[in-house]
């Protein structure tokens, strides 16, 4: 197996995994967003009461509004990811189907396809980096804000009450989504940077092809 093939295969596989991770967490983000919105609308949660501090009015509405934004971002997130995911799955499947016996031309063809896919989805990937970062931050705020309801804050410190332990997994899930989206954003921006450099490299070396085709004489 050549170095090029091994490198290309590794990158495609990782890009596929990041896209898949995005799809899964985008779906969870939508579900969690809906759950928080419904809880906030139905008023099943109370505004946090902290001993020694006044009740924060409208806190429930605030978390509901953040949840609504997260829900919207989740939908945008999943739509963007699907476009990227479909293209990468086709390329990955073709690459795996050819195996180690892949010809030079076939490998070049897949590289060209990947570049074309990146050019087509350049804007979407940029949007996705932004949406993932924003979603990650919002989910982090939501996780913290939601957990505040289950904290008893005093002048000397803070404590959990017993019932609230059951709600810790939900809070951890929210923080997990936040972490996953920030991680996806990081990897997408790194991949985008690498592919941008490659497009730039191609642009620079195109004069050799131009010369070969005799286009520079025109």
């Amino acid at each position: 197996m050549t170095n090029t093939l091994s490198q290309f295969r590794t990158e495609i596989r990782h890009f596929f995994l990041v896209s898949l991770l995005n799809l899964v967490f985008a779906a969870i983000a939508i579900a969690t967003g809906v759950q928080y919105v419904v809880t906030a609308i139905l008023g099943q949660t109370l505004d946090p009461v902290m001993p020694g501090l006044p009740v924060i009015p409208g806190f429930r509405i605030f978390t509901g509004a953040i949840a609504l934004v997260c829900f919207g971002l989740g939908i945008r997130w999943i739509l963007s990811t699907v476009t990227i995911f479909e293209g990468i799955v086709t390329i990955k499947d073709d690459l795996m189907a050819d195996g180690d016996a892949i010809t030079d031309e076939r490998l070049t063809c897949l590289i060209v396809r990947m570049l074309a896919h990146y050019r087509d989805n350049r804007r979407t990937i940029r949007t996705m980096i932004l949406v993932c970062t924003l979603g990650g931050v919002l989910f982090f705020v939501l996780g913290i804000a939601h957990s505040l309801k289950f904290l008893s804050v005093t002048a000397t410190g803070f404590a959990f009450s017993l019932d609230n332990l059951l709600l810790i997994p939900a809070m951890l899930l929210t923080l997990g989504i936040s972490l996953a989206s920030l991680l996806s954003s990081y990897y997408f921006s790194k991949f985008a940077q690498v592919w941008e450099n490659r497009l730039h490299e191609i642009g620079e070396s195109e004069c050799a092809l131009k010369q070969k085709l005799g286009l520079d004489e025109q």
């Binding site: 090029t4 290309f8 570049l115 074309a116 690498v194 085709l213």
Partner: protein, 91 residues
């Protein structure tokens, strides 16, 4: 192949596909081109001597010439070189 490609990528694709004689319809379908653009690309490659026409009765086919091999090899080496080095981050 579809998607946004450079003219050099399209030329490469046509030349590789035409390693065996191909019809005009086959070429434009395979390379996802409209007939106007397909005609222009083929005319250019014929003018440069990278493609030749083969007549079999009423049918006309297009075939890559030996000089096309040099362009194909140069293109392949350029594109494969992009993956010589790993990306600057840990996968």
């Amino acid at each position: 192949m579809s998607g946004r490609r450079t003219i050099y990528e399209i030329y490469w694709e046509i030349l590789v596909y035409c390693k065996s004689p191909r019809s005009f319809t086959g070429i434009i379908n395979r390379c996802d081109l409209n007939s106007k653009n397909g005609q222009e690309y083929l005319e250019f490659l014929i003018a440069k001597g990278y493609i030749t026409t083969v007549r079999e009765g009423e049918k006309t086919s297009y075939l890559s010439t030996p000089p096309a091999g040099e362009y194909i090899a140069l293109f392949s080496s350029m594109y494969q070189k992009l993956f010589d080095n790993p990306p600057g981050f840990r996968l």
